[in-house]
């Protein structure tokens, strides 16, 4: 059961990443690109969690946590910059 479901989940999340890439390239606005990057780091975290239990290796959770932290800081910094013109007042 699981050896059928795992490749299907991999393929679905990979298609989602490709769609994010389309929005990142075509986005009419800067904020659309920020939103596409935000969505794609969340999808990367989901992909890493699935990869972790595909390999049965819990080390990948640390990687997922680090990517989530860096992605959140990046999104906040970019939208703060677009809102005010600088990041730290």
């Amino acid at each position: 059961m699981l050896n059928i479901a795992l490749p299907i989940a991999f393929i679905m999340i990979s298609i989602a990443l490709v769609l994010n890439l389309y929005r990142l390239a075509m986005g009419p606005n800067t904020l659309d690109r920020v939103l596409a990057l935000d969505t794609s780091y969340i999808n990367a975290v989901a992909l890493l969690i699935i990869f972790s239990f595909y390999l049965a290796n819990p080390l990948y959770f640390e990687v997922a946590l680090l990517i989530a932290l860096m992605g959140f800081v990046g999104t906040v910094a970019l939208s703060k910059y677009l809102l005010r013109g600088n990041i730290i007042e």
């Binding site: 059961m1 939103l35 969690i49 239990f53 049965a56 959770f61 946590l65 906040v76």
Partner: protein, 101 residues
Amino acid sequence: MDFIIAFFLLVGAFFVLVGSIGLVKLPDFFMRLHAPTKATTLGVGSILIASTLYYLAYKQTISLHEILIAVFFFITAPVSAHLMAKAAIHKKNQEELKKKN
């Protein structure tokens, strides 16, 4: 147990895919902001539940990493969405002001 893990995994992957399709298909920025939020909460949440069940069933260990990631996501996703919406409203207001003058 295998069936439940596969079910949660497929539900999570489905919602991640739906969020990205919404990101591409919807016409306005605020509508586009609404779609990937579902991918964050439902999609990653379901995948984390599947992962917890897998480690509980096959490795006989309770791994706390999933709870850490879930709590982090549930705190940060509304904050980042709120900041992006604020920036978009600011930009819209400025464009309307420019049009008026």
